[in-house]
Amino acid sequence: MAKIQAHYDGAVIGGGIAGMQAALDLAGQGFRVLLVEREPSIGGIMVGLNKVFPTLDCSSCICTPRMAEAAHHERIDLLTYTEVEEVRRTDGHFTLRLLKKPRYVVEEDCIGCGKCEQACDWFVPHEFDYGLGARKAIYIPHGNAIPQLPVLDPEHCMFDGACARVCPKNCIDFLQQPERLEVKAGSVIIATGLKLTPMEAKKEYGGGRYANVISPLLMERMQSSNGPTGHVMRPSDGRIPRSVAYVQCAGSRDRTIGVPYCSRVCCMYALKQAILIRQHHPGTEVTLYYMDIRAFGKGYEQFFRRALAEGVRVVKAKVGRITEEPDGDLVLRVELIDEGGRVAEIRHDLVVLSQGLIPAWRPVGIVPARLDEDGFFEVPEVTTRPANSSVDGIFVAGVATGPKDIPDSIVEAGAAAMEAAMYLDRISRVEAEEAAMSEVSND
């Protein structure tokens, strides 16, 4: 772990794909960058995904090299498991108040051998696998985590000392305290990404209540080769599903849950998962219930056509409600609009709710930049300066400004880094001019 400096050219908040890209692009231009991530590992949502659309490339194979590059870059310092408590503008630069949460592991000493994790006897549902897999009470977040350092979860730890006894470096510290840091940065890039709308948001869909109504991110983990199951299965009985339904807009374009906008990625991720289900289990039917298929990016329309060719069924219907049968199957009630408006109840044995995207971070009173009514960062000149927030010197990228997919997030991260570089150049020239002026007046 590099020593944290007192002053950086740029501070990047959020270590997902957009944040990492912004940090790399800014550091690549010669600036010193601090990358702050609130989770124990960088990588964000993307490192947990299975494949990316429309190429069906392995997601972690694209993401992990960037994680390693960001972590090992000579001009990037990494602060994981750290919350940003305040971003304040102070003459000519920004001051960030940070809270480094305790891992209960001395980071400088730990060699990431994993013996503590093996010694721990306590199993906990694993957040990385959305509850389907298990982890220990002290655990390295996941196989691709960077840094490969364990974190102790005090809520589930029994403090029996098993980990401490086996640690070869004696670096388990049960008394570790949160640490407050203050750093200065010339500019700030915010890439704090997304979380999904709650599974329970649409009560009539039974998310969180019915075992076989699942989140698309759990589907990603089930489909991942490093996932908890290695293949798709029904949570209720472990059976390979015969008939999977995707309920689109189960958390988007819906005023009743306060998300009136389109989340822009759900059509594509659902089609991607559907194609992969069809490829792995050709006997399994997959049906997408959609309002509109929004396949807008490069190669996306072709991807949609490909899904149809692979036997994915798409049905124009908004699902009205879902009821559970005694055997765990689910009955979806829909109006089949393309059949002249016929009411139908259709049975499936696994249902994926295409949850929407909402901002992961609501920095009201923390960051001086304004948010828009949906909670994303306001971008005053959205057509001409898409990475500029309402505050000069604070730049935004990725889902922090609104729902978008990985390619768009990466483009925007590059834009934010370039804007930050231009801003830093402008500031330094102003400072140089001021210094020259004061020299003249002193003479």
């Binding site: 009743t256 309002m291 009630r333 109006e335 009411v343």
Partner: protein
């Protein structure tokens, strides 16, 4: 069949309380969320689409809005907050106006002022009838000084005169309502294939049962059965009073201050009417259930007039029993000045017309369902041979 499109139709519906019609993006959530929809009943989405596209003929010919009992499941979950339940309500108002050939209904739904003018005009006519008719009302009372000492209704409003007036009024209103219902029937069947007579006959049961019990309402979401029960009691109480006043007036109108057992069913019915109308007014103020969230002027007038009719009726009864002649006569006039305008305005032109339209719509839907079943069961006609060699 070619379709005529009227782009102004959505704006027209807004005048009937359907202000949210343009919000709908036709996802079909409402139809799927509804407990009453099935293969034969598909609403509200399709009907809202008709409005948005301006398909006046389709709207006129569809009875779908009458199949809705406004439980509000659709409105609770509508992703656009377009309030489809209320759009069905607005469509029912639009249909009532469209069925009415006199144009009065349209006038009243679109302008509160006109509705009030008509109500007051009829009330004034009632007052004039009592004041100006020789040998009746106040002029008859003037000829009988003894009737000012004690209640003697035969010296103010003789029951044979009132009875004749009742029957005359009932006949006119029934003729108006039936002629409007005939138009509804015509529009509904205009573009349908003829249904076999057996379907028309077999579906009659549906008309009678739904007209008497509105039991379809009970299939609505939970909470609807409370509204259904209250409505059923209201219907029966109102029906009782109607029978007592129009058919059995000879026994119901007691002429002097004495008590007569014929008042007993009147007590029961009046009690129910007062309780039910008060409870409806409370619900409309509280706006907790979707069905009470949007109250049009016509919804308020309906329940307020019914309440005032019951109240003035029971006060009239009290004044007669207490032998207060002048208040009793005055209340008699007031009672009729509320009841008659309510009936004249509401039954053929207003909200009350649903007492015929709704069972008729359910009947027509059942006829069409049976006709389609019969058609599906019949052997398919031979396909025409292609004309080879032409």
């Amino acid at each position: 069949m070619s379709l005529r499109v009227d782009p102004a139709l959505a704006n027209e519906l807004k005048e009937f309380g359907g202000g949210t019609v343009s919000r709908c993006f036709n996802c079909g959530n409402c139809t799927a969320a509804c407990q009453l929809t099935n293969q034969d009943a598909v609403f509200p989405r399709r009907y809202i689409r008709y409005i948005q596209l301006g398909l006046r003929e389709k709207m006129l010919g569809s009875v779908d809005p009458w199949l809705c009992f406004y439980c509000g499941d659709c409105s609770e979950t509508c992703p656009r907050e377009a309030d489809p339940g209320n759009l069905m309500m607005a469509s029912r108002r639009w249909l009532i106006a469209a069925y009415d050939w006199t144009g009065l209904s349209r006038l009243m739904y679109r302008s509160v002022r006109w509705e009030l003018v008509l109500l007051f005009a009829v009330a004034a006519a009632v007052l004039a009838w009592f004041s100006l008719t020789p040998g009746f009302g106040f002029r008859l009372l003037a000829a009988h000084p003894e009737a000012r000492q004690t209640v003697m209704l035969q010296c103010f409003a003789p029951k044979d005169v009132i009875h004749q007036a009742d029957v005359a009024l009932a006949s006119v209103l029934a003729a108006l309502l039936l002629s409007n219902a005939a138009r509804m029937l015509y529009y509904a069947r205009k573009h349908c294939q003829p249904a076999p007579a057996s379907a028309w006959l077999a579906a009659l049961g549906e008309f009678v049962i739904q007209g008497l019990t509105q039991k379809r309402w009970r299939q609505c979401a939970s909470g609807a059965s409370r509204h259904w029960l209250r409505h059923l009691l209201l219907v029966f109480a109102y029906g009782t009073m109607f029978l007592l006043v129009v058919v059995f007036l000879k026994w119901f109108q007691v002429e002097d201050a004495s008590f007569h057992w014929t008042s007993l069913p009147g007590y029961a019915a009046t009690l129910v009417l007062l309780a039910a109308t008060l409870s409806i007014m409370a619900d409309r103020r509280r706006k907790r259930d979707p069905i009470h969230r949007h109250s049009d002027v016509s919804d308020w007038l309906f329940v307020i007039l019914l309440f005032l009719t019951s109240l003035s009726g029971i006060l009239l009864h009290a004044a007669r029993i207490l032998d207060l002649p002048m208040p009793a006569y005055a209340l008699y006039v007031v009672h009729l000045m509320i009841a008659v305008p309510m009936l004249v305005v509401e039954v053929p032109f207003g909200k009350w017309s649903h007492l015929l339209y709704r069972p008729l719509a359910l009947y027509l839907a059942e006829v069409e369902r049976r006709a389609q079943r019969a058609r599906a069961a019949a052997p398919a006609p031979l396909a025409p041979q292609p004309a080879w060699g032409r």
